[in-house]
């Protein structure tokens, strides 16, 4: 019998917090803006270098702002697609709009779990949970947009399963 306070599974797939949309929107906008500015400067340098009559960069700003708008339009779909589930034997992560991925990590293969929280995510009270297995240099799964309590809960669930399987 399991202890009533400590859950072992999530009882079905769970979505992530809707506030993550704002985090993604803001960070996407910021990164596309930075890329747009840098590439525009490069375009300006190129146009000046070849002695073009028209030196105001157009191509790069339009390209990257276009990409930024497209990614902003996908944020809602991206959020809808993200879900995670902890079953008796594995952690199932589902994500992706264009390439749809469903990843299965057997519970006893999990070596350690990280909880991280960037400045932007922290402002919305969100954390990311990263799962690590042996042999991989980076996390095999990073579940974004969990509240601090949810993240702690998930960590405890997975760490407890470790203790049981050893």
């Amino acid at each position: 019998m399991q202890a009533p306070t400590l859950r072992r599974t999530t009882d079905g797939p769970k979505g992530i917090h809707p506030a993550i949309r704002k985090v993604w929107l803001f960070s996407n906008t910021l990164s596309f803006l930075i890329i747009a500015v840098i590439t525009s400067l490069m375009e300006f340098g190129f146009l000046t270098g070849v002695g073009a009559p028209w030196r105001v960069p157009i191509f790069m700003p339009v390209l990257w702002i276009g990409c930024g708008i497209a990614s902003a339009a996908l944020v809602k779909r991206q959020w809808e697609r993200w879900s995670y589930e902890v079953t008796d034997r594995e952690v199932i992560l589902t994500w992706g709009v264009w390439n749809q991925v469903q990843r299965f990590v057997p519970r006893d293969r999990i070596q350690h779990v990280d909880i991280t929280s960037g400045p932007l995510a922290r402002k919305f009270g969100l954390s990311h949970v990263h799962l690590y297995v042996a042999g991989a240099h980076s996390a095999v799964g990073a579940i974004p947009g969990l509240t601090h309590d949810e993240a702690e809960d998930l960590r405890n669930m997975l760490v407890e399963s470790q203790a049981e399987h050893v």
Partner: protein, 493 residues
């Protein structure tokens, strides 16, 4: 017996001198060649003096490092850890806990053999290179140290070193060693070498007469000369490749060792390295086209950490050439229940051909689109027909060789056209697995199953373009098999 700090064998100076010398010569050769080539005419009389002076100064400078290395390096075992202290100006003290040591290799180059010494290389699971490197120890010390580090009686170790060649699992005949060399061709290296000569030929002493001679020939003769010299290059590349293979793999044999498989080979430098069987995560069997035509393949074993990468010419190669029928003979020692010849290969969905065709057509259209448009304008669209045909053909070829197989213990996938590679991962070594479906795959009702082990070389199983239902069945089977094998894992990963 290693409690007191000890020095290396004096042979270390010679060995390190050789190592540093190679590095120095490699680093300085281009500059040296450039000086000689550009100043060849002007300083003709002083040239021998410059060359000799350059060599002497380089040798003296190179000698400083090895002498300092010998004087400053000490090693000892202290409270269950090997400590290696080295460095004269920047002192370094490395402590390797004995429990963390995965592997201890003894290496004897021709210089070691002349000077009656051996190099000891100590590996942990951490890095890609050996973590402890003792350039030269006397043979007795090397054997004792290996035994002490692996925590087994020294007498056993010495016995193991001098054991009769009785329990060989696999031995390469001289014919097979030559064949391994013949099936590769190192012509590319030779062409690169020739180009590098022209690169430094500033005075054009070589290039100009060659161009003149070619100009004087008739077109037919020029083409014939070109073809003949290319043929000559290929033959030389072939001979070089045979010679390299023969020196490296001479006397190749695989023996059983208490920590795994022991690979012994080499004519000039003798390699003895251990494949730690307990850490094997996946086994790969590769068949380049020439190997396949003659019924041979190469075998690799990927481990969680690494074993000496310089072992058998390429990363993790266990055997450079194996007849198709003998793969399981070696494989059985790497993974239990390894039956390569008995695997029943399943096909993926034929719709993979459509996906391949569309994918490559799009890719080539993007790459060739602009040049073709520039050249042919609207007629460029006609080029789509042969391009589509070629992409479809490559898709059909891909479909012909791709496949996956499983037994109750193993999962295997196979892909490639010119170089068919099969990756075999036991269920108890799977770390995680995924089902991926791209936009086009969703339209065609297909999915890709990816299975990843803990091997540091990162060779995962990718089973592309399975029908969605089959992918789901396979996924369930993998999940069930992992649970079934939970208790049987050997290396704690």
């Amino acid at each position: 017996m290693f409690e007191q700090p000890r020095r290396l064998h004096p042979a270390a100076i010679v060995i390190k001198f050789g190592e540093y010398g190679v590095h120095t010569v490699k680093g300085m050769a281009p500059a040296f060649v450039a000086i000689v080539a550009s100043g060849g005419r002007a300083l003709r009389h002083e040239m021998p003096l410059i060359i000799v002076g350059f060599l002497v100064v380089t040798a003296l400078l190179t000698l400083i490092g090895p002498v300092l290395h010998f004087l400053s390096t000490r090693f000892y075992i202290q409270s269950d850890a090997l400590v290696i202290s080295s460095g004269f100006v920047w002192r370094k003290r490395r402590t390797i806990p004995l429990a963390r040591i995965q592997n201890v290799n003894l290496q004897r180059t021709i210089w070691h053999r002349i000077l009656k010494a051996a190099a000891v290389k100590i590996e942990t699971a951490a890095g890609k290179r050996s973590e402890g490197d003792l350039a030269a120890l006397s043979i007795e010390d090397a054997n004792d140290l290996q035994a002490a580090l692996l925590q087994r009686p020294a007498s056993q170790a010495v016995a193991a070193e001098s054991a009769p060649k009785a329990d060989a699992i696999y031995v390469l005949s001289l014919r097979q060693v030559f064949l391994a060399g013949m099936l590769e061709n190192r012509v590319i290296y030779i062409i690169a070498g020739i180009f590098s000569v022209f690169q430094f030929d500033r005075t054009e002493d070589v290039m100009r007469p060659l161009v003149h001679a070619m100009n004087r020939l008739s077109p037919v003769a020029a083409i014939a000369v070109g073809a003949l010299s290319l043929l000559g290059l290929v033959i030389v590349g072939w001979l070089v490749s045979i010679a390299m293979s023969a020196t490296r793999f001479y006397g190749f044999r695989i023996e059983k060792h208490e920590r795994g498989l022991l690979l012994i080979h080499g004519l000039i430098t003798q390699f003895r390295s251990i494949v730690p069987v307990g850490r094997v995560q996946s086994v790969r069997v590769a068949q380049p086209i020439l190997f396949r035509l003659l019924g041979y393949c190469e075998m690799y074993a990927d481990t969680a950490g690494s074993y000496d990468r310089k072992d058998v010419a390429a990363a993790n190669k266990v055997c450079p050439i194996v007849p198709e029928g003998s793969v399981s003979q070696i494989g059985r020692h790497l993974l239990s229940d390894f039956e390569f010849e008995c695997l029943r290969w399943n096909e993926v969905s034929p719709r993979t051909v459509i996906r391949h065709t569309l994918r490559y057509l799009l890719l080539w259209s993007i790459i060739l689109g602009y040049p073709l448009w520039h050249w042919l304008h609207w007629h460029a669209f006609w080029a789509l027909i042969p391009m589509a045909l070629a992409c479809w053909l490559s898709g059909v070829l891909y479909y012909r060789f791709v496949g996956f197989a499983f037994t109750s213990d193993l999962l295997a996938s196979r892909s490639g056209v010119f170089r068919i590679q099969s990756v075999i991962i036991p269920f108890d070594r799977i770390q995680h697995y995924s089902i991926t479906r791209s936009r086009l795959q969703r339209v065609l009702g297909l999915a890709t199953v990816t299975v990843v082990s803990a091997s540091s070389a990162g060779h995962a199983i990718h089973i592309m373009d399975l029908p969605t239902e089959d992918a789901e069945h396979l996924r369930q089977r993998i999940g069930d098999s992992i649970i079934r094998h939970l208790g049987s894992r050997r290396a704690g990963l």
